[in-house]
């Protein structure tokens, strides 16, 4: 088993918390793991990316080779496109639709969505809307994560127990809302796949 995942977004959007959730699920599945992160200057509103590599064998490079990513998971639509050269043939792109327009020349949303739709395997999800619907606008990252879980070769129950572990400290309500957000994302993917 090998799953190479690129997690993309904009500095400040919290992609590392998504990486941590997948990472924990991987460890609980006895997989090996390497997770490369971006710290420093780019965290100030720049493009950020995390390379997450899961395998049942030894992982060498911290970076995913071009053409090697099984999944691009993005919490911002334009950022989903930035790492396409890393996508493997048959790989999936799962992205949130809410743009972060912190640059003057941000392209039109329709253009971006058209590009993503032209990819063979894509899931385009309005995670912010879904998060609002379940009454937790701050859980949109968990919705995107949920939408990506069908494409990660880890038992969904292990994701759920991981979420419970991560949010335990913040109380049962927080655990429940995040589980709900993840489930909603997952259901969307399964329905729209």
């Amino acid at each position: 088993m090998k799953t190479d995942i690129i997690i993309a977004g904009v500095g400040g959007q919290g992609i590392l918390s998504i990486a941590a959730c997948i990472g924990l699920a991987a460890i609980n599945s006895n997989l090996q793991l390497k997770q490369s992160e971006v710290h420093g200057m780019s965290q100030r509103g720049g493009a950020v990316v995390s390379n997450l590599r899961l395998s049942d064998r030894e992982i060498y490079s911290d970076l995913i080779p071009r053409g090697g990513a099984d999944l691009i998971l993005s919490v911002e639509p334009m950022e989903a496109l930035r790492y396409l050269p890393w996508l493997t043939e048959g790989g999936w792109v799962v992205t949130n639709t809410t743009p972060v327009k912190n640059i003057n020349n941000y392209p039109g949303s329709a253009e971006i969505i058209t590009e993503i739709k032209s990819l063979k395997n894509n899931i385009i999800i309005d995670a912010d809307e879904i998060a609002r619907e379940i009454g937790s606008p701050r859980s949109s990252n968990m919705v995107v994560l949920g939408a990506a879980t069908p494409f990660i070769d880890i038992d969904y129950k292990i994701f759920e127990s991981g979420i419970a572990g991560i949010f335990e400290r913040k109380g049962n309500d927080t655990v429940e809302i995040n589980l709900q957000a993840m489930r909603a994302g997952r259901e969307f993917s399964i329905k729209n796949n």
Binding site: V10, G11, G12, G23, I27, Q32, L33, K34, Q35, S36, E37, V38, H39, G40, M41, S42, Q43, R44, G45, G46, A47, N51, I59, Y60, S61, D62, L63, P65, R66, G67, A69, M78, E79, L81, R82, L84, P85, W86, L87, T88, E89, G91, N102, I103, N104, N105, Y106, P107, E111, I112, E115, L119
Partner: protein, 535 residues
């Protein structure tokens, strides 16, 4: 012991605590910051008793660490590559004095300049100082090498460098801990003259350092971290240093290659091992994260008739960090890329946060200086360097920490008026204060704008040395009190702030304008913490 998921930086920090350090010294700098932060987060119980406060700069950190070693205890000092330039004086001399308690210098280089002004390779500093250098290739080695580094340091009574790079600093993997070592007790150096580098003594100490060279090279030859792996196809052999070894292994396994490999993770270079692979193979490809240190050494090797390739001949890029694709291409494999990036994707450079005080500071500055024309604002390193980018394009230099003030002074001495500089509060105490003293002593007419967000912002909001004491420091240095002005960079104060700046730009002497407003990130975090405590 349980496995922990640690960044390379955190693995080093955890190892330091497990290996019995009594103190760690550092100034924040990407990609090294998380080492100190991890210790600070971990040292919650008084039982740990590890000194872990930020220093004013890398030089004071290095010297304090040397003092702790003098007193017989194990210590680490951590910095980014350009921080070692700041600390170069005590660094070079600590090799001559040698150490008492185990002394590790952890330097995190930033090839590709993700968050830096250059991509200098600290292995050259290690060679320059003639001390052992350890270059881990993964998180587990980062952990283990701290123990190994202390062993070497205490065996030879020398400082030992651990050199990592961004990709290892900021990548996480499982790390297995070792049994912890006890801290050392206070114990002064056996030789009371050891640390006195008066010429007569310094010459003896230097001879001593030179006399250790064959022995530390022998350590490299026999180090478990320098490994020779046999291969059946001798048409080419690989020498891979530190992290580059992983990229090589990625390709070796993907393409099922069978060539001899020498992995180097400990310096000085193991010459016998290098001779072995060189004699055996028809050609060599040298893979190093950073400058071509090994490649240059080999090309000057006596009887060097074989083909040696790497960064110097263009087989690998001369600049930037390596990746598996570079290695694949160097070996003649085509890379099966995914779809290309569509034209609709635009660059997204870092920018000042929404609500940041620096934005209002720059908006006032741009208006106040407009009548004088462009090209007269010097700056240096911090979040405020982003003022160089649109929509501000407000600064004209960024060279090194503190250079804003001194370059403005030099330009003023040359006749530029007004000559203005923008510096942050943490950078001011790091390296700006002495330059301000020069300006005061020489009455160089400059206006220093201190963007005081009361934190070390760019690296994530670490404590700043002189929060709340900036005015006192400026007065103490000799800036006239009537020319130390405080402004609050808020939109509603814009007209007033422009007026203050205009007044000071017109003044032909040293003036300081402190633009003070707390970093928005730190303020948000603080509010969140308060909420958590209340709930």
């Amino acid at each position: 012991m349980d496995k922990l998921m640690l960044l390379g930086d955190e693995a080093i920090a955890q190892a330091g605590m497990d290996a019995g350090i009594s103190g760690i010294y550092a100034y924040p700098g990407t990609p090294s910051t998380e080492i100190m932060e991890y210790v600070q987060k971990s040292v919650s119980s008084p039982a740990h008793e590890i000194f872990c406060q930020w220093s004013a700069n890398e030089k004071t950190a290095m010297e304090a660490a040397l003092g702790m070693s003098y007193a017989g205890k194990r210590t680490m000092v951590c910095m980014k590559h350009v921080g070692l330039n700041v600390a170069a004086d005590p660094f070079m001399n600590s090799a001559v004095t040698g150490v008492n308690g185990g002394f590790l210098i952890v330097v995190a280089d930033d090839p590709s300049m993700h968050s830096s002004q250059n991509e200098q390779d600290s292995r050259f500093y290690g060679k320059f100082a003639m001390i052992p250098v350890l270059e881990p290739s993964n998180q587990q080695e980062s952990y283990d090498m701290v123990f190994h580094g202390f062993e070497l340091s205490e065996k030879f009574r020398l400082p030992v460098m651990i050199r990592i790079t961004t990709r290892l600093s900021h990548s996480r993997a499982a790390v297995k801990g070792k049994e912890t070592l006890d801290k050392k007790t206070l114990g002064l150096p056996a030789d009371p003259m050891q640390f006195i580098l008066l010429p007569g003594i310094a010459r003896k100490r230097y001879s001593n350092l030179l006399s250790y060279q064959p022995e530390i090279e022998k350590e490299s030859e026999h180090s478990g971290y320098n490994q020779f792996f046999q291969g059946n196809d001798n048409s080419i052999g690989f020498i891979a240093c530190g992290l580059a070894y992983n990229y090589l292994m990625e390709i070796v396994h993907a393409k099922k290659l069978d060539h001899p490999v020498l992995k180097i993770s400990q310096y000085p270079l193991p010459r016998l091992l290098i001779r072995k692979i060189k004699d055996q193979c028809d050609s060599l490809l040298i893979l190093e994260e950073g400058y071509p240190l090994v490649e240059e050494f080999l090309k000057g090797f006596p009887g060097s008739d074989k083909k040696i390739t790497g960064r110097l001949d263009g087989s690998l890029p001369r600049e930037g960090e390596l990746n598996p694709d570079h290695v694949a291409k160097a070996l003649g494999f085509s890379v099966m890329e995914g779809p290309s990036v569509p034209g609709v994707v635009k660059n997204r450079p870092p920018s000042l946060c929404k609500g940041c005080g620096h934005i209002d500071m720059y908006n006032a500055l741009i208006e106040a200086i407009e009548t004088y024309g462009p090209g007269r604002v010097f700056s240096d390193i911090g979040c405020y360097t982003l003022g160089a980018l649109p929509p501000f394009s407000a600064i004209n230099s960024c060279v090194d920490m503190g250079a804003s003030i001194t370059m403005a002074k030099g330009a003023a001495d040359a006749g530029l008026h007004p000559s203005v500089c923008v510096i942050g509060d943490s950078t001011f105490t790091h390296s700006g204060m002495t330059g301000l003293l020069d300006a005061v002593n020489d009455q160089s007419p400059i206006t220093v704008i201190i963007g005081d967000n009361s934190t070390t912002g760019m690296t994530g909001g670490q404590a700043s040395s002189a929060t709340g004491r900036i005015e006192d420091i400026c007065r103490g240095i000799g800036v006239l009190p009537e020319h130390i002005r405080l402004i609050i960079p808020l939109k509603k104060n814009h007209a007033e702030n422009v007026a203050v700046m205009k007044e000071e730009f017109a003044y032909r002497g040293v003036s300081v304008i402190i633009a003070r407003r707390e970093c928005i990130q730190v303020a948000n975090r603080r509010r969140k913490e308060v909420r958590t405590i209340k709930s």
